[in-house]
Symmetry: C2
Subunit: 391 residues, 2 copies
């Protein structure tokens, strides 16, 4: 599989070898419950707290104790949205979200709707940027929570987070941001950005699976989702996954130190790939914002061809891409993100998501650009809806 | 640390080296989202399903799809109790539990009490066995859920699970059992035991941390706790922790194959240790049932001495034990389990929990029995409450 071109970093990533190395002792000789008073326990507690401090450093939290380890981004989002909403019930029952949130946000909001909350979904423009005027108009004194993803995992668009925070705080609501695709890839500064509560993924920054974090700024209204022994400052019970925390801590440290270099290198490969595809494949268009986008994201739609067919054809050539979010790939619905951006259904279904990562090789982009014109042309020749001139 | 005698397997365990070995490729070359349609994704999906089948095999589930991977036992318990209760709300609002449940069960029940459920807590006898007459009397047509741990993690007492299941089912209630300390150590057969929903831990059977499972017998009333992309048959969203699942699968396979041999070897060390301690340390008593107990558990109380002092003194001699559950060790309250068994507060505070495991060495028991008489005597000499004859 060494020749595979992997462009599905939005769905999964290999663990950074340095992260795996850091975790290894915890699968071999190190063990002990961090809550135990004996020497083995206190050593584990030390490793856990050191890792927490590294995550806090990455996002510039004021205190390490504002970082709660969870089992991953989805749990963090469930906990943060539910915890903030139920804890704020006395203030109001209104929640505001963008239409292009991740499915974990959307499905948690559906649950909250059934539990008595009213949710307003805000539009985005054709590049995926939140409509700030609509936000201003929707946030009221009854609004307890506003949730807008830091950057979109499908089209890569980065939101004007600081401006959003100011509007949210003007009505004393809590600002949640799902920063899963952003943390570790672009500078996310919880304090400067004005974020109150935030979802943080581990594997999205080359850390292990099965661990994640929730940032809860001191003083934020919050309650736990998973109850038990009161670990994680009472905010998330369950025996701590120290190996996972150590891995996520190491991944955070590496991201902090290498983010700028990674971003520059990855964006260069991405930019060349995108510009070649757009010029060499007729009727292809970039989704998302031309400049305010994640350095690793390329989302391109091809008229008169289905995304799923391109994914499978490319797979046979050893090129791994996706047609959208793996998290919702079971439904054959077109991406709700692309639809919200005003792209017609039939065009949305012809999208490819190519997400690069730390381990992308310099010629990965060219490998794709070399074969895509032929593949798209072949698929269009079989398409009943393609007009003669594109076949 | 090679000379350490580790008797705190109820709080934490090292990962079995064969489990670590099985996981290693997933930290090195293997990755891909199991929901992705491409080759890397389907390979991961295969590994996930193979692991699920191994967990199902261990507990004799009818179908692998009855096993839901979670982040650990605490999450499983939260999901199962809440999911069963809320999903059964139309039938009734009554829940029955034993008084000696794990703190994750008790705190989830507290939450359910605040959410409109009524919980009846049943007594146990002096050995920790549930009062079956009290169970019969408490379960009514309004009872939706009964939760009784398969075996107690502090005193090791194994419940008459089959008889409990029959009583529960006579009123068409759901039977949940937290089998965290039991699965992998004694034969747990979900079908024969009549369990509807069950909490399963990974690390308690020498698997990795950060993963666990929930058994949900087909047809059981249940709803998910963590919402999102609909992974795990819609019962637990979030990108799957394949490395963790593979580790838990391997741990399940090893447990199935080696359980009988492990139990015999470990119980022999334990029995010799217990009998030496009880005969060589005056005023020492075994907690729990003399025979219906986990093969690795030794819980002993020593009058006129504090458990915490013994833990720290033994720690300095390289012997790691605990004074009770690490999950609730932050509170200085005596164990609710010992109190429910009728042991006076002051005696309960003098308990030591010595839990052996797969990696216990033949002379570990003797190492403890060799030093305990001297240590207990020393501590009693400093005790203001010890009568002259025990000093």
């Amino acid at each position: 599989m060494s020749e595979v071109v992997y462009l599905d970093y939005a769905s999964s990533s290999r663990v950074d070898p340095r992260v795996a190395e850091a975790m290894l002792p915890y699968f071999k000789e190190l063990y002990g419950n961090p809550s135990s008073p004996h020497a083995l326990g206190t050593r584990m507690k030390g490793a856990l707290e050191e890792s927490r401090a590294k995550v806090a450093w990455l996002i510039n939290a004021e205190k390490p104790s504002e970082v709660i380890f969870t089992s991953g981004a989805t749990e963090s989002t469930n906990m943060l949205l539910r915890g903030a909403a139920f804890r704020s019930r006395e203030k109001g029952n209104h929640i505001v979200a963008s239409k292009i949130e991740h499915i974990s946000v959307l499905n948690t909001l559906k649950y909250l709707s059934k539990s008595g909350f009213e949710v307003t979904y805000l539009p985005v423009d054709s590049t995926g940027i939140l409509d700030l005027e609509a936000l201003k108009a929707s946030v009221t004194d009854k609004t307890v929570l506003v949730t807008v993803g830091y950057a979109n995992n499908e089209v890569g668009t980065i939101q004007p987070v600081k401006e959003i925070a100011e509007i949210v705080h003007s009505k004393r609501a809590l600002f949640h941001s799902d920063a899963t695709p952003a943390v570790g890839k672009i500078p996310v500064d919880a304090q400067k950005d004005g974020i109150d509560i935030m979802t943080i993924s581990s594997w999205d920054m080359y850390g292990p699976y099965g661990i994640g974090a929730a940032y809860v700024k001191k003083g934020s209204r919050m309650e736990p989702l998973i109850l038990g022994g009161g670990q994680e400052f009472g905010m998330r019970s369950g025996t701590e996954n120290v190996a996972g925390a150590v891995g996520m801590g190491k991944a955070s440290e590496l991201a902090k130190l290498e983010m700028a270099g990674d971003a520059e290198r990855i964006a260069a490969i991405r930019d060349k790939m995108v510009s070649r595809i757009l010029s060499e494949v007729p009727y292809s268009f970039l989704n998302g914002h031309p400049t305010k986008r994640l350095p690793n994201n390329a989302s391109i739609r091809f008229n008169y061809v289905e995304g799923e067919s391109m994914v499978l054809t490319l797979d046979m050539e050893g090129i791994i891409v996706s047609s959208g979010s793996a998290c919702s790939s079971k439904t054959l619905e077109p991406s709700h993100v692309l639809i919200a951006m005003g792209i017609p259904h039939v065009e949305a279904q012809g999208s490819l998501l190519m997400a690069l990562g730390r381990f992308s090789k310099p010629d990965d982009g060219d490998r794709v650009a070399d074969v895509l014109p032929r593949i798209v042309k072949g698929l269009r020749q079989m398409s009943p809806i393609a007009p003669p001139e594109v076949r």
